[in-house]
Subunit: 351 residues, 2 copies
């Protein structure tokens, strides 16, 4: 595979030179330097990244940091309301926000498939850069690998993130307790339906758009408002049902939620009915639950409703006991239904 | 794809239940919880990971942190002297060490292909856990995605890492200057040859083993020894030649290296000759270069030689000028050869 020649010569495939990812783009040589110099550095420009060392070095004050990672394998790469690039930034920003942290720095790892369009890569990188600007995080260190044709799926992106947890903020499942009120930040299921609609060419009327959005702003406001937030969790794979089950298991609590209080857009509800999906389990990428003391639920709700990303927030239930992990849904008909974990997701590769 | 049934039912492929990765293992539901609970948590056990929140939260003192990431796509997954799991830990530990940092925390992102053997996954995870123990880093946060059969290649692993840079340590290409001596920590090319030999079934005599190893120990010793280390770089993709070119470009310096001082094991040299490879460009996973002031070169060499991982370290050259980025090799024949970047790597998917 050694080659000191031009890219079109080193690649046995009928690719227009310079238009597609080659194995050599991941080889640590001139083509990788060119990719970094032409695509990544201009888009992500910042002084830490510009040093091009094996890692980024930055100063921190004494305190607590949050550290998180996610890989993104969503298909299709572009969907109504977002794309894999912005998703990869917002998703990790949101995981930091759910720790109560102010997001600061992100790493980026690309796994590209040989033959992937460099034009699409540029669009995705531009989308990441725009998302980073919007959320005021810096993409400070990165890595690119290329795998042979047929051994990947165009592009996978991993981001890891570091954020600072402000003094006094203690957010986690261990703080959830009986009596806590449960808030959801907005209507459910739009991300999953938007991706599925695009992937399967379903073309739902009403133009459902993904809810993909950064949540660090509203979380910061909530924490600054004086509400003693006990736990936060974003509602990604597995939706609200999975998030509540995870927290119930970690905190060993029972929760009761009210179906009539759970916001779902009409087109999403209709789409779910046609497809046999339950919106409680459908993925979101810009929604979260918050557990707060009952006396502060109204304050928390008011803060959430001030932000566009959570303007239709709702109090959906209460932590009702502290024995067995259990989620009880009081249905529109007044009956009780246990909301359990599914084996997997209703929709694979949603993020 | 919704399924509340047993895994064998939710998967249309003839897999023995419980033996292979299913799409549902990445779905955020019960199977993912089981994978986390059965495989990841026992292997990586630590209090930060055990919280199972959206990220890990830990305290830091005021100072400088290093942050880095790499994805690992090596084939085959197991090779003489290592595997993708230990490589994913050592590789990121080494990138932190090259920043002069003491490695502390790692994140892990798995991208698994549907149908991948759970037994192999367990072996890889065990290898990561063992590598983490050896290097005293904690795997504190993670993510697992599953892609459909034919859209991945068994397993890809991303790790990101955080380390603390001790006060006073300033390591980076910007500090490289004319007069600096260039040390290489050991013999070159063993990792690349070991992986290639295994991949292509070449079966080189002499049993070449990968040099994959953690470098943070020897780097810490070097920094503590009082040597004013100007720059460090591990010699991964693209080998010594690419690392020196990158540094020369960043520091705008010319370097001269002596072929006779560059250690290469005989079996590696022989294998390279047969395959038409140049050991200067072959990947390593446990080797680095160090740039130090000339008066401290002997001290640095003595420190390196104290450690098993760098016992055959050598002074290989000098930074000879500060105008154009250029690497000159004085060959065994006494001639000069320019060592340029290749377009790509000689061996794809080497890490």
């Amino acid at each position: 595979m050694a080659s000191e020649d031009a890219p079109a010569v080193s690649c046995p495939l009928p690719l227009a030179s310079g238009q597609h990812v080659l194995l050599a783009h991941g080889g640590g040589g001139r083509l990788m330097q060119k990719l970094i110099g032409d695509v990544f550095l201009p888009a992500f420009a910042n002084p830490l990244l510009a040093k091009l060392h094996d890692g980024a070095v930055f100063s921190v004050e004494a305190g607590r940091l949050a550290f998180t990672t996610d890989s993104y394998v969503v298909q299709p790469l572009f969907f109504p309301g977002g794309d894999i690039g912005s998703l990869a930034v917002y998703g990790t920003v949101n995981d930091l926000a759910m720790c109560g942290a102010k997001p600061l720095y992100l790493s980026v790892g690309f796994i590209l498939e040989e033959g992937f369009s460099l034009e699409l890569l540029q669009r995705i990188v531009d989308s990441m850069a725009e998302a980073a600007r919007k959320t005021q995080v810096q993409l400070v260190t990165g890595d690119t690998k290329v795998v042979d044709r047929g051994k990947g799926d165009g592009i996978f992106i991993n981001t890891a993130g570091i954020g600072v947890v402000p003094p006094g903020v203690m957010v986690g499942p261990h703080r959830v307790q009986a009596g806590d009120r449960i808030l959801v930040s907005g209507d459910l299921g739009a991300h999953g339906l938007a991706v599925l609609s695009m992937r399967e060419g379903l073309g739902f009327g009403g133009g459902i758009e993904s809810d993909s959005a950064p949540l660090h702003g509203v979380v910061a406001d909530l924490l600054h408002s004086g509400v003693d937030v006990h736990c936060l969790r974003d509602l990604t794979r597995g939706g609200l049902a999975s998030a509540l089950n995870e927290i119930a298991t970690a905190a060993k609590v029972e929760m009761t939620i009210e179906e009539r209080s759970i916001p779902v857009q009409e087109p999403v509800r209709g789409g779910c009915e046609i497809l046999g999906l339950d919106p409680l389990y459908v993925a979101n990428e810009g929604r979260f639950v918050a557990f707060v003391p009952p006396a502060q639920a109204e304050t928390a709700l008011a803060v959430l409703r001030r932000h566009a990303v959570s303007h239709n927030a709702s109090v959906i239930g209460t932590v009702t006991g502290s024995d067995e992990p259990l989620i009880i849904l009081r249905t529109l008909l007044g009956t009780n239904r246990i909301v359990d974990l599914l084996s997997g997701d209703q929709l694979p590769r949603i993020c």
